[in-house]
């Protein structure tokens, strides 16, 4: 029986409620919301002069009304020490979402911590230190002193290479320009930490090296380009689920204006099904390729376009490199880059060759090429927006595959112009502003393997949970736990000792192979179970936070409530670590080293913003961003005029390309040579197991469910991670809907819940990524590309039943996801 909130009325927002700009802190799209707060003992009333909307609320409101909010959009939170009513609802005036709310963002209010309504009581309120066999709540001074003493001892007795850092690099809830700057300043300026990794992958690296090396930054269009294009070419992405209001508010208008849709995905997704409804079946082409074969498909499409002369010859002549090889293939470049002719010598693939490799009809590949590039009957060129995401970013041969896709956009001149673009769709929002990471090197250190090999002594973790979101997770977890348990045991044995004695005991354990773990997070995460110090951070809207979305739209999401308990913004936690490092280093006579930790005397997140982002972008201040509201300004900001920040609608409008740093500003093509499975172990694993274990996302969950794991509406729908299977495969394995199963291979084991999905191919399953009750990463092998990009997507395993459906799983809906209209 479905979860119901049993809410039959909500307090009415009074006309004089405080109004705050909010950018949804979940996905890359960054929908605009408005937060309204007002004193707890009051509310508005239904007469038009008594509520924020100025309408008669004693009447039923029409569809798409501005004057309704769902129970999930309401809560009671603390503001300046007082309990207040809170409503967070979609902003009809934001150009990103035009009043649409997603199943994620429209629950922001409900997912705030509240001692009054009891929501999100999992949030950390105080620092915790491992002491007396448990985590003891303590003060910031106590916790930061221990962090600094152990860290300083390890990096001065050894080197900064003994400090391993896992840190977010994104915008949105935990990131933003404030927090990426502060962590970057600490680890890349005060220190030169080389053994760093990012929240979702085992190294500190770009996910899209090749497009950057070709000169093209990966977020180059404006969302409005979807509305005026002729073709949307989507690869390895499922925007209806994961960039919901980009799809509904920009791609669907494109379909209504006549755009065709090409989807490259082994699986029939909801995006494909919905596009058939919105665009008409005849205007949708689904290329259901064999997993991991994208590059061969792209090369064939490029070849067909080139051979038919459907290229943009002027653009190629004026904006792309002409002289053969520009960048040779080497350790840092998994393919050579240069002119179109140079690339074609490697990329040339016939329709028939690609059809054989990819398992789709040659005629369909030709059709895709036509929809992308065949001139219209009047001779004018077609416009095409190309969009891609994890299907190839976390796929086979990342560098060459993305390069092969970008080749198509370059050859047809589909970048920098209205109705075009070649962009990743994105996961989180962006908010990267850090000192140079050049010292990290390329290829970067494979940090997970570094830790597994027993290296490193201190691990600082910032809003990452590798228990749920890394490859080879089974082995990583075993080793991380064993090494951190050594330090816990040493602390336990030193009980009753002085601070100096406890630090000595910790350092001895580290020298014996142990790992001292500091976890900065908003909740006590799974990897946080290994921590010795846990530092409580707050989220966006408990602090002011700036980020940009997938069309580089920069907004200030305003603070409307207090940080929970004694939690703090990450930037101020980083400052606290730096200040304690300075003090501790000075106390042990390392004055010069201590001086490197000066410059963190920030009282607020705005101070961190001014110290970092504003120094590089002096036009941009909180005050000016506040005035720009939920529509913000598209980066790069190029000026300030008439009281407004002046932005950039799309990049490369002048036909010059600079992301690679070349003086000639010419874009490069990629010699994307197909070589089958690039990462070690994939071919053998595929041959050994029946099922391809595709890891997928669902609109209902935000990332690894860090908040949703305590949201009743969400957990009621999927009490266990779904493993979608073809019904005939379920019958063969004796599985009924809701049965618990496990997926097994040489890398490890994970578990989930069987969900019949008739649209899946046989012998494939679609398992949700990053679930707390079953990590798909457990069964993914350690294979990465030359630049340490993980191939999460290619994993094969055997499936067996664990148990019959539970009372809970038996009661949920197991129907197909596609709407029947």
């Amino acid at each position: 029986m479905a979860f119901k909130r049993q809410v039959d009325r909500l307090p009415i927002i009074p006309a004089d409620a405080k109004e705050h700009n909010v950018t949804c802190h979940y996905c890359i799209v960054g929908c605009g919301y408005k937060a309204y707060t007002w004193p707890i003992q009051t509310q508005g009333h239904s007469a038009p002069d008594g509520n924020k909307f100025g309408v008669d609320l004693s009447e039923q409101q029409p569809m798409e009304t501005e004057a309704w909010y769902a129970p999930s959009m309401y809560n009671v939170v603390r503001q300046n020490g007082q309990d207040v009513h809170l409503v967070v609802m979609p902003d009809v005036n934001c150009v990103v979402n035009s009043g649409l709310g997603s199943i994620r963002g429209a629950r922001m209010a409900e997912n705030r911590p509240s001692r009054v309504t009891g929501t999100q009581q999992q949030r950390l309120s105080d620092p915790l230190v491992w002491r007396n066999g448990v985590w003891q709540p303590t003060s910031w001074d106590d916790a930061l002193d221990l962090v600094a003493r152990v860290t300083a001892r390890v990096i001065t007795e050894g080197s900064e290479d003994d400090l391993v850092v896992s840190m977010f690099d994104h915008g949105g809830s935990a990131g933003g320009y404030e927090n990426t700057w502060a962590t970057g300043k600490l680890y890349f300026e005060s220190m030169k930490v080389k053994n760093a990794r990012i929240h979702n992958r085992p190294a500190y690296n770009s996910e899209v090296h090749s497009t950057r090396d070709m000169g093209i930054g990966e977020l180059n269009y404006s969302y409005s380009d979807y509305e005026v294009t002729d073709t949307i070419f989507m690869v390895g992405a499922n925007s209806m689920e994961t960039q919901t209001n980009l799809y509904l508010n920009h791609m669907v208008p494109g379909f209504r204006n006549g755009a065709k849709f090409i989807a490259v995905d082994p699986r029939r997704t909801i995006t494909i099904a919905s596009s058939e409804q919105y665009a008409g079946k005849d205007n949708v082409l689904h290329l259901a390729i064999k997993e991991g074969t994208d590059m061969a498909l792209f090369n064939a499409i490029l070849t067909h376009i080139v051979d038919n002369g459907w290229v943009d010859a002027d653009f190629i002549a004026n904006s792309t490199f002409q002289g053969g090889v520009a960048t040779a293939e080497d350790e840092a470049h998994p393919a050579s880059l240069g002119s179109l002719d140079h690339a074609m010598a490697t990329c040339r693939t016939s329709l028939e060759q690609a059809a054989e490799i990819c398992g789709v009809d040659a005629a369909d590949i030709a059709k895709a090429a036509e929809w992308i590039a065949k001139p219209k009957d009047d001779g004018s060129a077609r416009k095409c927006v190309t969009a891609y995401e994890k299907g190839i970013i976390w796929g086979n041969d990342n560098y060459r595959t993305i390069g092969a896709l970008v080749n198509i956009a370059l050859a047809t001149g589909n970048v920098g112009r209205e109705g075009s673009g070649i962009c990743r769709l994105g996961g989180h929002q962006e908010g990267y502003y850090r000192p140079s990471d050049a010292h990290v090197g390329r290829p970067a250190e494979y940090v997970d393997q570094f830790l597994i090999r027993g290296l490193g002594g201190v691990h600082h973790i910032w809003a990452c949970d590798h228990y749920k979101t890394t490859i080879n997770a089974s082995e990583f977890k075993r080793v991380h736990k064993r090494r951190s348990d050594m330090v816990k045991a040493a602390i336990d044995e030193a009980a009753g000792g002085t601070r100096e004695q406890v630090v000595d005991a910790i350092v001895s354990a580290i020298n014996a192979g142990g790992l001292f773990v500091v976890d900065v997070d908003i909740i006590h995460s799974q990897i946080g179970q290994n921590a010795h110090v846990v530092l409580p951070a707050c989220e966006s809207n408990e602090m002011n936070l700036t980020s940009m979305n997938g069309e580089r739209r920069l907004r200030l999401s305003e603070r409307y409530m207090d940080p929970y308990g004694n939690s703090k913004p990450d930037c101020l936690i980083a400052a606290g670590i730096a200040q304690n490092m300075e003090r501790v280093l000075r106390a042990i006579g390392q004055d010069a080293y201590a001086d490197q930790f000066k410059g963190y005397d920030w009282a607020s997140e705005e101070d961190a913003f001014m110290d970092g982002y504003n120094k590089g972008n002096p036009e941009v201040t909180y005050e000016r961003l506040r005035a720009m509201g939920n529509n913000g300004v598209q980066e790069p900001v190029v000026g300030f005029a008439d009281g407004k920040l002046v932005g950039t609608e799309r990049l490369y409008a002048d036909g010059t390309f600079d992301r690679h740093g070349r003086d000639d500003k010419k874009a490069l093509f990629c010699a994307a040579g197909w070589r089958g499975w690039q990462a070690p172990g994939k071919a053998r694993e595929q041959a050994s197991h029946r099922f391809w274990i595709n890891n997928v996302r669902a609109n209902i969950f935000w990332q690894n469910q860090f908040l949703d794991q305590k949201n009743d509406f969400i957990q009621d729908r999927y009490p266990h991670p779904f493993v979608e299977m073809h019904p005939d495969d379920m019958v063969e394995l004796g599985l009924n809907p809701g049965d618990l199963l496990e997926i097994v291979n040489d890398n490890g084991v994970t578990q989930g819940m069987a969900y019949p999905m008739p649209t899946l191919k046989r012998d494939t399953v679609a398992m949700v990524f990053g679930a707390p009750a079953g990590s798909q990463g457990n069964v993914v092998n350690p294979g990465v590309n030359e630049l340490v990009l993980p191939d999460y997507k290619h994993c094969w395993g055997s499936i067996r039943k664990i148990a019959d459906a539970t009372a809970q799983t038996r009661s949920i809906s197991f129907k197909a996801h596609e709407a029947v209209l």
Partner: protein, 153 residues
């Protein structure tokens, strides 16, 4: 969520508060139909708690949790999508209510659970009872109906 007290607190004198600060609003008890009016898997248009709140009355043909009537299979739901208020349409083939606007869908056999979609709540279900004559009454709603900040206006 503790919303009910807040809704009434400012307008009611202290001596009356305990009498009128209800846990839930007073829902009307409305007769919707008689069991004999229903055919299996043929939706009947209804409205509850008033004429401006359209709903559907269904005899599913198989007992479900929360179902009423002699076969335990009669249920009723709001048909305003709790995402953006579009009117849902019934698919007899799989007993779901589907939204033509943004493609959310709700399962009539699991209490209106959103099978897939954008809404942040499951579909409000009308609580039913059946008297000895077979008359079906609606007595309440288990979640907030789209387009109104009080289920009873």
């Amino acid at each position: 969520m503790a919303t009910a007290g807040a809704a009434a607190a400012t307008v009611i004198a202290p001596e009356k508060a305990s009498a009128e600060a209800l846990a839930r609003v007073d829902f009307p008890q409305n007769r919707l139909a008689n069991i004999s009016d229903l055919a299996v898997n043929e939706p009947m248009d209804i409205a509850y708690p008033d004429a401006d709140s359209p709903g559907v009355l269904l005899k599913l043909g198989q007992a479900v949790e929360g179902g009423v009537g002699p076969d335990g299979d009669v249920v009723a739901f709001s048909v305003l999508c709790p995402h953006k208020g579009w009117m849902l349409s019934y698919s007899a083939a799989d007993k779901t209510l589907n939204c033509p606007g943004h493609h959310s869908r709700f399962d009539c056999e699991t209490g209106g659970q959103q099978t897939w979609g954008h809404a942040t709540q499951n579909l409000p279900q009308f609580m039913l009872s059946v008297d000895e004559k077979g008359d079906i009454y609606a007595n309440g709603v288990d979640d907030l109906i789209y387009g109104r900040l009080s289920n009873v206006l």
